[in-house]
Each structure stands twice: as C-alpha cells, then as structure tokens.
Symmetry: C2
Subunit: 211 residues, 2 copies
DNA sequence: GTCTATATCCGGATAGAC
DNA sequence: GTCTATCCGGATATAGAC
C-alpha cells in the first residue's frame, strides 16, 4: 500500500519487496556476473543469493536464462545510445574519446570487469543465437561511433593518425577490449599502458604517462 | 602386440587404440574446445564424442577437469617457448613479429578461434586457481617476448614507434587479442583491419592493405 | 586403457500454494 | 511476485569389470 505513489504510472509495476524494481536488480546483478565470470559461468542461484530471493522468483521475471541474456545485451545497447546522446554535446572529438576511455577505466576499477564485447566475443560459440544477434548489433554501434569520432577528431585537428579511420577504429576498440582482459592476468597497470600508448599515438602526447 | 615397436622408448606409453596417443588427442580436442567455447562451456562429453571414447577414459588421463585445464595452459607455454627458439633464428625483428601475427591469422582461419590469453582473461574469475597461475605465466612470457622484439626492431630500424616499448607491447598484444574476438561478432575482415593498422603504424606501410 | 554402471551434484525450469 | 517443492538433464567424478 501506498508504494504505488512512487511509480504508479510506471510501465513496470513494483513488487512486494519494499517497492524495489526486482527486474532491474536482477539485471544489475546479472550484468556484474556476466562481466566478471562470463555467461556460462553464472547461474540463477548466484543472482538469487545476492538479491535474497529464491531461484523461482528470477524465473518469473526472466523465464529462461536466454531471456535474461538478451535483456542484458539490449540494455547495454540502450545505455550506449543514451551515452552517445549525452557526449554528443561535447564539441571536441578527443574529449569524447577520452570519455569513452573513462567507461573502460570504470570497468577496470569495478573489480576488473571485462567489457561486454569481450565477454560476448569470447563465448560467442557457446551463446544462444538470440544473444549473438544482439551482440552483433552492439558491436556494430560501437564501431560506427568510433569511426565517426575519429573522423571528426581528424577534421578538427585534435587527433592525428595515419591510415583509414575504420581500421584505426577497430584497432582502438580491440586494444581496449583486450587490454581489460590482460589486466586481469598481469595487473591493472597493463590497461593504463594501453591507454597511454593509444593517447600518445593519437595526440602526440600521453595523458596517462605519469607512470 | 607389436605396436610397442612404434614408440617403445617413449615416456608416455601408448594405449590400445591403434597406437595413438590418447592423452595428446584429448589435449588437442580440448584445446579446440577451449578456444571455441571457453573453459566453462566444454565438457568431457564433448571430447569423448569427438574421440570416440567414453567419458571415463578421459578421467583416466586427466582425473579432474582442472588437471586438463592446467595441462592445456602448460602446453601452450611449452609450445610458445619452442616457437621462440625457432623464430629467434630469424634476424629481422619485424619478420619475427609478422610470424607472431601469422599465428593469430591461423587462429582466425581455424574456425575463428580466440587466442588462449583472451579466453583465460575473460573467464579468469571462473577458473581454478591453478589455471590462473599458469595463465599469468603464459601472459608474462608473451609480454616479455613482445618487448624484446620491439626493442630489437627499433634498434635495427625495421620498426618505428613512439613511446615506451613496454607500452607498445601491451597495446599490440591487446589489439591482437581483442581483434580476434571482434572478428567473431563483426566478421574476419575486422581482424585484418587491426593487422593493417598495426603494420602501418610500425613500418609506415601496410602489408595487409590490399582491402 | 577403456569399458559399463553408478553416484553425486548443480543448473535450468515448472507447478501450484500463498 | 515470491515462495516451496520437485523434475529433468547434464556434468564431474568414481568403482570395478574386462
């Protein structure tokens, strides 16, 4: 009673658990697990324990694990699109790219998480087809954003690089993705080295060269 | 009977399966599965089917899955050390690096396999500790080789890059690793773009720029 | 070294009460 | 919307025959 005042017009109705949105909490926990352990190494039980609910409660919100997986990737994509809208307000392309780097640093510092693309790429052949399709879309959007940003930066003069912008785009994306994984095996400073080198090569000076 | 003539002095004795070395065949199948699906997404059953033996036969050679995993990573490392010895005969560091690239192209063409480091990094937190330790060693050796090679190339004049050789080393390693994963989601040509860009930046001209 | 058979456990999933 | 209870299949692992 009365918790309806909080979000009565919300599309998703709230449950009995103190007005919290269980679906979203499930997604949050699952996202953490996905980036830490991978899709095939987390279970509904992991999430259930973390949320203090039972296994079946999660099945109510996401009948099959595949549904949860697809929802996760869709949410990544929506969040990315929202992120683009925000950072598009920034004029300078190099600053935009640094904001992109920042999201990876956040992953690194959040207990050395991998980026979604890295997890989905690595587990690709052990993923349900519906997830693969979503993953392709997510990767494509990242790629296209990166190309646009590089071309803008080159035009603005804030970035320099030789070769084609789409080649450079994949190189940067791959380095960031691989860098997070290497950091797990060889320490977080490895990722900062990647950032330092990418920055140095793009601008002629390292913004991360304090080490 | 009589199959003992084939490898009677071998440390590992042959089984009854036509003189073939089952342990090695298990490792081969497991390696394929590891790079395709990841450690947590393959089972003894996968291997058993592929080899035409029963589940229990594999447990005879590798009592626990962890034993198999550790053996796999150890073999990667031994193979890498052997590979180094061979390619060290090549004088030119840039040629050595191209040989290194070639091993990744082989992964890509072998049904879009990931590199071991990518798999082990992504699944790191869902791996037995013994495997993690081996994985760290494997990564370290790759890293150190890359640094040596870059420094040699720079001294020889066959490679150019700005910044520190150890930063550049991680950047290259990360880009290769991430590139293979991206290729799964966005097509093999993405990996070739990474190679093209890396080559262009190291030598001033792309050896892979035919596209 | 490999087999059959089996034990055990875990993860995904459903039914029906509350 | 969450619970208890249960089912099912798959995966790791072991025992003992051949």
């Amino acid at each position: 009673m009365l918790k309806s005042v909080v979000g009565s017009l919300s599309t998703r109705r709230r449950g009995v658990r103190g007005g919290r949105d269980t679906s979203e909490e499930i997604l949050n926990a699952a996202e953490e697990l996905l980036q830490r352990r991978g899709y095939n190494a987390f279970s509904y039980h992991h999430i259930a324990v973390q949320l203090g609910v039972r296994n079946a409660a999660i099945h109510y919100h996401f009948p099959a694990k595949e549904d949860l997986g697809v929802a996760l990737v869709k949410r990544y994509q929506q969040r990315f699109q929202q992120w683009i809208r925000t950072t598009d307000l920034v004029e300078d392309a190099w600053e935009r790219l640094q904001a992109y780097f920042k999201t990876y640093i956040d992953f690194l510092q959040a207990d050395c998480k991998c980026c979604p693309g890295g997890v989905l790429g690595t587990e690709f052949h052990a993923l349900p087809e519906a997830m693969r399709e979503e993953a392709r879309g997510l990767m494509r959007e990242n790629y296209e954003w990166m190309i646009r940003t590089l071309e803008l930066g080159r035009a603005q003069g804030s970035m320099k690089f030789s070769g084609k912008s789409d080649d450079k785009a994949v190189e940067i994306g791959a380095a960031l993705q691989g860098g997070l994984q290497i950091a797990r095996l060889a320490g977080p400073e490895r990722f900062h080295q990647v950032l330092a080198q990418l920055s140095l090569e793009l601008t002629g000076q390292s913004s991360y060269g304090a080490a």
